[in-house]
C-alpha cells in the first residue's frame, strides 16, 4: 500500500510530507530521491511511475505542484493514481485552486485530511460531502451524540457521499449533457473515424435522501420496452425521427447501483449534494456531424496555392452554432496570403502556419465559404508539403450523439415533496473534440 505522500512546489521544496509506513525508510531520503530524479531531472518526464532504488514513486502534477505517492510494495497502481486525483478533488473542494500559497495556508487542514482519507496507506472514504461534515476549517464544533453517530454512519455507510438532513426550500436539479464530437474525414467526404464522448453532469439541490431514476433513449432499454408494449412504442417512434441511440460503453459515479444497471439497465441512485458527474459514455454509431468541411486545394505553379473551403452546417435551422473556428494549415514557405470570406473574420497567422477563420454564430442548414491565395517562396526542398488536416472548433446546443434525457424521476418517501415539485433543467451542449478533415 501507499507508504507515504509528499507534495512539492515547482522548485522541489516539500510542502507536505506524510509517511504511513516504515518500509519506505528514511523520510529524508525518499523525499530527496524524488526531487533529484524526477523534479530536477534534465529530461522531460518519461513515465508517471518511477522506480528509484527499489522504491516506486507515482506522481501527478497540478499547475506547478507535484503530488507524489511512495511505496515499496506491489500496490494497485491504478488505485494510487485514482487516489491522487481524488486527493486533488478534495483539496480543490476545500480551498480552491491547488497552488503553493493555498497549500501552505491550509497545511493543517491537509494533514488532517490525509490522516482521514488514507489509513496505513489504504484509501478510506474520500467523498467531500461526507468529509465536510466533520473536517472543517473552523475546528470541530461540539456535536451532540446523535450528530456524531450520524457522521460516523455516513462515513462508513452505504451512502457515504451524502449526508442526511439536507434541506432546500426549493428542490431543484440541473442536468447538463456535455458531448465532444470527434471526426476524421477524407478529402472526398468519407468518414474515416468518428466518435462522441459524452458526460452527464448533474447539479442537485434536493432535500432529504432522494431516490433518483435517470432515463435516456438508450437503444437497449427502448427495445426491451418495445417487446413488452410493442404498440405503444411503435406509435411514438412514428412521432419523432431518430428514437434511440446505441451506447458503446458507459461508466457511472459510485452512487449508481451498478448491479441494477447490469441486470435491468436502469440507472438509479441517491445523488451527492451539489455538482457531480453522473455518467460518462461513448458512442460511435449514427453520429450527427454538425459541420461538413469541403476543402479544395489547387497548386498553381510552384509558388502559388489556391485554397477554397466551404463549411456546411447540418442541423435544424432554428438552432445556432457558436464559437466557430476553422483552421487551415499553410505551407512553411508561405510568403503572403490573401483571404476573402463571406462571413466572419479570417486572418493568416504566420506563427501558427495557418489561416484562422472565425465565425461568431451560424444557424443550421447554412453554408459559408472562404477562399485564399497563398504565395509561396520558391524552395529547392524536394520534400512535398505534408498537407496537415483542416481542423474545426464549435459549440452547438444539441447532443451530436442523439442522446435525449427521457426522464429524471425523484422520490423522497420521508419528506413531503413529490417528483412534480422538483424543478428540473436540462441542457445539451455539443462541442468539437478533434474535428478534422484531410485536404
Amino acid at each position: 500500500m501507499i507508504g507515504g505522500l509528499f507534495i512539492y512546489n515547482h522548485k522541489g521544496e516539500v510542502l507536505i510530507s506524510r509517511v504511513y509506513r516504515d518500509d519506505i525508510g528514511n523520510r529524508r531520503n525518499a523525499v530527496d530521491a524524488f526531487r533529484v530524479n524526477v523534479i530536477h531531472a534534465r529530461q522531460q518526464v518519461r513515465s508517471p511511475v518511477t522506480n528509484i532504488a527499489r522504491t516506486s514513486f507515482f506522481h501527478v502534477k497540478r499547475s506547478n505542484i507535484w503530488l507524489a505517492a511512495v511505496t515499496k510494495q506491489n500496490v494497485n497502481a491504478a488505485m494510487v493514481f485514482e487516489f491522487l486525483y481524488k486527493m486533488c478533488d478534495v483539496m480543490t473542494a476545500y480551498f480552491g485552486k491547488i497552488s503553493e500559497e493555498n497549500i501552505k495556508n491550509n497545511f493543517v487542514l491537509i494533514y488532517e485530511l490525509l490522516d482521514e482519507i488514507l489509513d496505513f496507506g489504504y484509501p478510506q472514504n474520500s467523498e467531500t460531502g461526507a468529509l465536510k461534515t466533520f473536517i472543517t476549517q473552523q475546528g470541530i464544533k461540539s456535536q451532540t451524540k446523535e450528530e456524531q453517530s450520524q457522521i460516523t454512519s455516513q462515513v462508513t455507510g452505504q451512502i457515504g457521499w451524502r449526508r442526511e438532513g439536507i434541506k432546500y426550500r426549493r428542490n431543484e436539479l440541473f442536468l447538463d449533457v456535455l458531448e465532444s464530437v470527434n471526426l476524421l474525414m477524407s478529402p472526398q467526404g468519407q468518414v474515416l473515424s468518428a466518435h462522441v464522448s459524452g458526460r452527464v453532469v448533474m447539479k442537485s439541490y434536493l432535500s432529504g435522501m432522494p431516490e433518483c431514476k435517470f432515463g435516456m433513449n438508450d437503444k437497449i432499454v427502448i427495445e426491451k420496452q418495445g417487446k413488452g408494449t410493442a404498440d405503444e412504442t411503435g406509435k411514438s417512434e412514428l412521432g419523432s425521427g431518430k428514437q434511440s441511440i446505441a451506447i458503446d460503453d458507459c461508466t457511472f459515479h459510485q452512487c449508481v447501483r451498478l448491479s441494477k444497471f447490469d441486470s435491468e439497465r436502469s440507472i438509479s441512485f441517491i445523488p451527492p449534494d451539489g455538482e457531480f458527474e453522473l455518467m460518462r459514455y461513448r458512442t460511435t454509431k449514427d453520429i450527427i456531424l454538425p459541420f461538413r468541411v469541403i476543402p479544395l486545394v489547387r497548386e498553381v505553379g510552384r509558388t502559388k496555392l489556391e485554397v477554397k473551403v466551404v463549411i456546411k452546417s447540418n442541423f435544424k435551422p432554428s438552432l445556432l452554432a457558436q464559437k466557430i473556428e476553422v483552421r487551415i494549415p499553410t505551407p512553411l514557405n508561405t510568403s503572403g496570403v490573401q483571404v476573402i470570406c463571406m462571413k466572419g473574420k479570417a486572418k493568416y497567422k504566420a506563427s501558427e502556419n495557418a489561416i484562422v477563420w472565425k465565425i461568431k454564430r451560424m444557424a443550421g442548414m447554412k453554408e459559408s465559404q472562404i477562399s485564399a491565395e497563398i504565395e509561396l517562396l520558391p524552395t529547392n526542398d524536394k520534400k512535398k508539403w505534408a498537407r496537415p488536416p483542416i481542423s474545426m472548433n464549435f459549440e452547438v446546443p444539441f447532443a451530436p450523439s442523439g442522446l435525449k434525457v427521457r426522464y429524471l424521476k425523484v422520490f423522497e418517501p420521508k419528506l413531503n415533496y413529490s417528483d412534480h415539485d422538483v424543478i428540473k433543467w436540462v441542457r445539451y451542449i455539443g462541442r468539437s473534440g478533434i474535428y478534422e478533415t484531410r485536404c
Partner: protein
C-alpha cells in the same frame, strides 16, 4: 491571518521561543505554537527537542490541536521511546471517549507509533475497538490490526486478533468488511502458507454482497482479494464472474481494472465452447477502451495492462485498433505505449491503416517516439508478410528525408527485414549504401556492416566499404567490431582473391590489438577455422540462417500468466514479477492462473493435475534472442562439425589453395615460424592461443567447443539400469530371465540374461511382445545359438524397434512379454524406463520452444520435485543430454538456475521441461508441459533415474 507564515520562521533561538509558547496558558497561543512545530517538521527541521512540551498539549478537548499533537507524536515517538510512554495514558483514555471520532483517532494514531512499549498498551484498547458499537471505530481498528502485525506479528497471533479480524468479514457494515479484507490480505501475504483468508463459497458470497455496497476503495480491496480465490469448478467461476461484471461500469478505473483481473483469471476455468465465455469476451472490450479516456497517468497504467491482455487474449481487442492511434497531445509515455499495442494488434486486415499512421508518427518531434515508430514499421513488415513490400517502400521514403536518426533506425529494421525475407528486397541496398556516412550510432553501423557482409557478392565495392570502416576499428564499439570482423570474413569467403589483405588486417586487429575477450575469441575461431578447413569455414560462416520469428518481444508465457494475476498493480506496469522490485518476504508468493477444471476434463489427467494448478510457478524468462556469442555458436553453426585432424586438412587445403602466399607469410611472421604446419602452403593457427605443433589438441579443442554448444550429432548412450530379474526360475520351470533396457547410438535394445536352472537342456527360444503403448517390438528374432545346458547362462542383446502395434497400457510403460522354449511358454511383464524412447533429434529451436510452451494449455503442466540431487546446473545438463534430454536455454533468475529442456519420444510426442535448481537446495523442481500429459509422470521418473545414477 494565514498559516503560510509558519513556513518562513528561520530565526535563531526559535526552539527556545517555541518552548515558551507551548507552555503558555492561552489555548490559542498553544495551538499556534504546535502549528509552527509541525510546519518546521514538514520542511525538515529537527524539532524533536520539543517532545515533552508538545506531548503536554495532548490533554485537550480541542480536536484540531489533538490531531496536530498526534501527528507530531507519530513522527518523533520512535526517536524518543521513553518520553512517548507519557502519551499512553491519554491514548488509553481517548479510546474510551464517548465520541466515536475520538476513539477511532486514538486507536488509529496509536497503531502508527512504532514503539514496543506503547504496543503493549495498545492490545486492550484495540480489542475493545474491534468490537465497538460504532462502525467507524471498527473499520479503523481493522486496519490497526495490520499495523500492529507489521510491528509485532507474534503479538497479534498470541492475542487472537486474527480471529476477531476474520469475524469482521461477516460484519454488517460494508466498509468494515472491506478494511478487514484489506488487513487480512496484507497479513496473509507475509504468511503464504497460513490460509488466513480461508476463502470458501460462503465467505466469497459475503464479499460479493459487500462489493455492491462499499466505497470505491473498498471495492478494490475486495476485488483484489477475490482474484486470489480458486473456484472449485467452472460453474462457480462463472457465477462469480457474473456478479463481478457490473463493476466494469464503475467510474473509478482501479475498480474496473481489478474487476478485469478477476475476470481474466477466472475465464481460464471456463470452457471456450460456453456461450458465457463469448459474452464475457465481448463485455471486456468496451471498458478497456473507456480506460483510454481517463487522465494520462491512468491511461499509462491501463495501456501497460492492455499490453498484457492483448498478448494473453488477442481476440478481446482485435477490432479496436483505432482507439490506440496516437493523439497529438498525448504525453510521450502514453504515445510510446500505444505504439506497442498497435503493433501487437496489426494484422492483414488493418495493416494499411496502421502503416499510414506510423508514417505520420515518423515525422513527429520527439526523437524516441519517431525512432519507435520507424522500428514499428519494420516490425509490421515482419509480422504481416503481405505488407512487407509496402513497409520497405515506406522505410525508403523515410530514408530520403535524410533525418539522421530516422535513417539510422530505418537501416536497423531493414536488416531485420532481410533476415525475415532473404533475397527479396536486396534492390534497396544501393540506397542504403548512399547513407553510409551519416551513420554514427553503433547499432545502425553494425546493421549496415552486417548487410554489406551478408550481400558482399552483390555489392561491387563491398571491400572498399568495409575497409573504410576498418580505419577506425579501435574507436568503434564492440558491437560494430564484432560485426565488422564477421562481415569481412564473409566477404573473404565470397571473394577470396581480392580481399586477403583485408581479412589479415581484421584478424590481426581483433586478436592482437584488442583487449576485448569476445572479439579476440571470435577472431581466433575464425582464424583457426580458416586455417584448418576453409570449406568447413564456409559452411560455418555462410550457413543459412534460421528465419527470425514474427514477435521477438513477447513476454515469456509463464511470466505473462503470472502478470495477468497482477493486473492493475505495479507488477503489471513494470512487466516484472513483484519479487523483482519488492524487498523482503512480500511478493515471494508466485501467483498462477487457475487450471481449467471443466467437469469432464479433470478425470483424465491423473497425478499431474493437482500439483500443476496449486503449485506456485516461477517466473521464467527465456532470452528471446541469443547473445552475440550464442549467436555465433548456435546460429552460424550449420551441420555438425567435428574437429578433423589438422594434418589432413592442410593437405586438402593445399589442393584448394584458396589463399596465396600473403596470409601465409603473415602467419609465419606471427607465429614466429612454426614450420611443422607451414610446409604445404597451408595454414597454421596464430601463436598466442595455440602452441606450435598442435595437430591433435587443436582438433580436439574445437571438438570440445562444439560439444559444448549442444552436442549436435554426438551419439551417446543413455543411462542403463543394472539388470534385474524379470522371470524367476521357479515360475518358469527353471528358466530365469533377467534383463534391462538400453539405448545406444539411436537404437533400443533389450539386454537379457537367460539362465538355465533346470536339470535339462533348453533350446528353441523365441520371444514375443504384447501390444504396448509405444509399439515396442523385437527387431530381430531371439537368437540363442547353442542349446542352453543346465546351470549355464547366456547374454543376449535383443534389438527393438517401435513399429509394433500400439495399445495404451496401464501403467503406460508396461511391457508384456512371452518367452517360449522347448519346455513351455512363459509370460512376464516388466516396466521399461521411458528414456529409452528419447530420440536423438529431440532438441527444439528456441523460438519453437517458446511458441510451443505457450501453446500447450496450462492444465497440461505438471510439476514434480526431484529430491536429493546436488548437482550443478551444468552437470545436470550434461548428464541429461547423455540420455537425449536437451538443454535449450539456461538462465539465472534470482540466484536460481533455470534450465529449459526438450525431448522427443519415438512416437513424436514432444515434452518440454523447465528445471529449477537452487544453489543450496538439493531438491530440484521440474515442470513438464506436454500435449499428452499422461507421459509426464514417467518422464519425471526418467529424470529421477538419470540424475541419481
Amino acid at each position: 491571518m494565514t498559516d503560510s507564515k509558519y513556513f518562513t520562521t528561520t530565526k535563531k533561538g526559535e526552539i527556545f521561543e517555541l518552548k515558551a509558547e507551548l507552555n503558555s496558558d492561552k489555548k490559542e497561543k498553544k495551538k499556534e505554537a504546535v502549528k509552527k512545530v509541525i510546519a518546521s517538521m514538514t520542511v525538515g527541521k529537527d524539532v524533536s527537542a520539543l517532545f515533552p512540551d508538545v506531548v503536554n498539549c495532548m490533554q485537550t478537548d480541542n480536536l484540531e490541536l489533538k490531531k496536530l499533537v498526534y501527528l507530531y507524536l507519530m513522527n518523533y515517538a520512535k526517536s524518543q521511546p521513553d518520553m512517548a510512554i507519557m502519551a499512553v495514558n491519554t491514548f488509553v483514555k481517548d479510546c474510551e471517549d464517548p465520541n466515536p471520532l475520538i476513539r477511532a483517532l486514538a486507536v488509529r494514531t496509536m497503531g502508527c507509533i512504532r514503539v514496543d512499549k506503547i504496543t503493549e498498551y495498545l492490545c486492550e484498547p484495540l480489542r475493545k475497538c474491534l468490537k465497538d458499537e460504532d462502525p467507524y471505530v471498527r473499520k479503523t481498528a481493522a486496519v490497526c490490526v495490520a499495523k500492529l502485525h507489521d510491528i509485532n506479528a507474534q503479538l497479534v497471533e498470541d492475542q487472537g486478533f486474527l480471529d476477531t479480524l476474520k469475524d469482521l468479514i461477516s460484519d454488517s457494515n460494508p466498509m468494515v468488511v472491506a478494511n478487514a479484507v484489506a488487513a487480512l490480505s496484507e497479513i496473509a501475504e507475509s504468511h503464504p502458507s497460513s490460509n488466513l483468508l480461508d476463502l470458501n463459497p460462503q465467505s466469497i458470497n459475503k464479499l460479493l454482497t459487500a462489493l455492491n455496497e462499499c466505497t470505491e476503495w473498498g471495492q478494490i480491496f475486495i476485488l483484489d482479494c477475490l482474484a486470489n480465490y480458486m473456484p472449485k469448478d467452472d460453474r462457480e467461476a462463472q457465477s462469480i464472474c457474473e456478479r463481478v461484471t457490473p463493476r466494469l461500469s464503475h467510474a473509478n478505473s482501479a475498480v474496473v481494472l481489478s474487476a478485469v483481473k478477476v475476470l481474466m483469471k477466472f475465464m481460464e476455468m471456463l470452457s471456450k465452447d460456453l456461450d458465457y465465455y463469448g459474452t464475457l469476451l465481448k463485455k471486456l472490450a468496451p471498458p478497456l477502451v473507456t480506460l483510454l479516456s481517463a487522465e494520462p497517468e491512468l491511461q499509462y497504467v491501463a495501456l501497460r495492462n492492455i499490453n498484457l491482455i492483448v498478448q494473453k487474449r488477442p481476440e478481446i481487442l482485435k477490432h479496436e485498433m483505432k482507439v490506440f492511434f496516437v493523439k497529438y497531445n498525448d504525453p510521450i509515455y502514453v504515445k510510446l505505449e500505444k505504439l506497442d499495442i498497435m503493433i501487437r494488434l496489426a494484422s492483414q486486415a488493418n495493416i494499411a491503416q496502421v502503416l499510414a499512421e506510423l508514417k505520420e508518427y515518423a515525422t513527429e518531434v520527439d526523437v524516441d517516439f519517431v525512432r519507435k515508430a520507424v522500428r514499428a514499421i519494420g516490425r509490421c513488415a515482419i509480422k504481416v508478410e503481405q505488407s512487407a513490400e509496402r513497409c520497405v517502400s515506406t522505410l525508403l521514403d523515410l530514408i530520403q528525408t535524410k533525418v539522421n536518426y530516422v535513417v539510422q533506425e530505418a537501416i536497423v529494421v531493414i536488416k531485420d527485414i532481410f533476415r525475415k525475407y532473404p533475397n527479396k528486397y536486396e534492390s534497396v541496398i544501393a540506397t542504403l549504401c548512399e547513407n553510409l556516412d551519416s551513420l554514427d550510432e553503433p547499432e545502425a553501423r553494425a546493421a549496415m556492416i552486417w548487410i554489406v557482409g551478408e550481400y558482399a557478392e552483390r555489392i561491387d565495392n563491398a571491400d572498399e566499404l568495409l575497409e573504410s570502416f576498418l580505419e577506425g576499428f579501435h574507436d568503434e564499439s564492440t558491437q560494430v567490431q564484432l560485426q565488422l570482423l564477421t562481415a569481412i570474413v564473409k566477404l573473404f569467403l565470397k571473394k577470396p582473391t581480392e580481399t586477403q589483405e583485408l581479412v589479415q588486417q581484421v584478424l590481426s586487429l581483433a586478436t592482437q590489438d584488442s583487449d576485448n575477450p569476445d572479439l579476440r575469441d571470435r577472431g581466433y575461431i575464425y582464424w583457426r577455422l580458416l586455417s584448418t578447413d576453409p570449406v568447413a569455414a564456409k559452411e560455418v560462416v555462410l550457413a543459412e540462417k534460421p528465419l527470425i520469428s514474427e514477435e521477438t518481444d513477447l513476454i515469456e508465457p509463464t511470466l505473462l500468466d503470472e502478470l495477468i494475476c497482477y493486473i492493475g498493480t505495479l507488477a503489471s506496469v513494470y512487466h516484472k514479477p513483484p519479487s523483482a522490485f519488492v524487498e523482503g518476504s512480500r511478493g515471494v508468493v508466485h501467483k498462477s492462473l487457475p487450471p481449467r477444471t471443466g467437469s469432464s476434463e479433470s478425470a483424465e489427467s491423473p497425478e499431474a493435475a493437482p500439483s500443476a494448478g496449486q503449485a506456485a510457478e516461477q517466473p521464467a524468462v527465456i532470452p528471446a534472442q541469443g547473445d552475440l556469442l550464442g549467436d555465433l555458436l548456435n546460429l552460424d553453426l550449420g551441420p555438425p562439425v567435428s574437429g578433423p585432424p589438422l594434418a589432413a586438412s592442410s593437405v586438402q587445403m593445399g589442393a584448394v589453395d584458396l589463399l596465396g602466399g600473403g596470409l601465409d607469410s603473415l602467419l609465419r611472421s606471427d607465429v614466429g615460424g612454426s614450420p611443422a604446419m607451414g610446409g604445404g602452403g597451408g595454414f597454421a593457427a596464430p601463436g598466442p592461443a595455440v602452441p606450435a605443433g598442435m595437430g591433435a589438441p587443436l582438433g580436439s579443442g574445437l571438438g570440445d567447443l562444439f560439444d559444448l554448444t549442444g552436442g549436435v550429432g554426438t551419439l551417446s548412450g543413455s543411462y542403463v539400469a543394472p539388470k534385474s530379474v524379470w522371470l524367476p526360475a521357479m515360475k518358469a520351470k527353471g528358466l530365469e530371465i533377467s534383463g534391462t533396457f538400453s539405448r545406444q547410438v539411436g537404437s533400443i535394445s533389450m539386454d537379457l540374461v537367460l539362465t538355465n536352472k533346470a536339470l535339462q537342456v533348453m533350446s528353441d527360444f523365441a520371444i514375443q511382445f504384447n501390444r504396448n503403448s509405444f509399439g515396442l517390438a523385437p527387431a530381430a528374432p531371439l537368437q540363442v545359438h547353442a542349446p542352453l545346458a543346465p546351470n549355464q547362462s547366456v547374454e543376449i542383446s535383443l534389438p527393438l524397434n517401435t513399429v509394433g502395434s500400439v495399445m495404451k497400457m496401464d501403467p503406460l510403460n508396461n511391457l508384456q512379454v512371452a518367452v517360449k522354449n522347448n519346455i513351455d511358454v512363459f509370460y512376464f511383464s516388466t516396466l521399461y524406463p521411458l528414456h529409452i524412447l528419447f530420440v536423438e533429434d529431440g532438441k527444439m529451436e528456441r523460438q519453437m520452444f517458446l511458441a510451443t510452451w505457450k501453446d500447450i494449455p496450462n492444465e497440461n503442466e505438471a510439476q514434480f520435485q526431484l529430491k536429493d540431487c546436488s548437482l550443478s546446473a551444468d552437470a545436470v545438463s550434461s548428464k541429461l543430454q547423455g540420455s537425449n534430454i536437451f538443454t535449450i536455454a539456461k538462465r539465472n533468475v534470482e540466484g536460481q538456475d533455470m534450465l529449459y529442456q526438450s525431448l522427443k519420444l519415438t512416437n513424436g510426442i514432444w515434452v518440454l521441461a523447465e528445471l529449477r535448481i537452487q544453489p543450496s537446495n538439493p531438491t530440484l523442481t521440474l515442470s513438464l508441459k506436454c500435449r499428452a500429459p499422461e507421459v509426464s509422470q514417467h518422464v519425471f521418473q526418467a529424470y529421477d533415474t538419470i540424475l541419481k545414477n
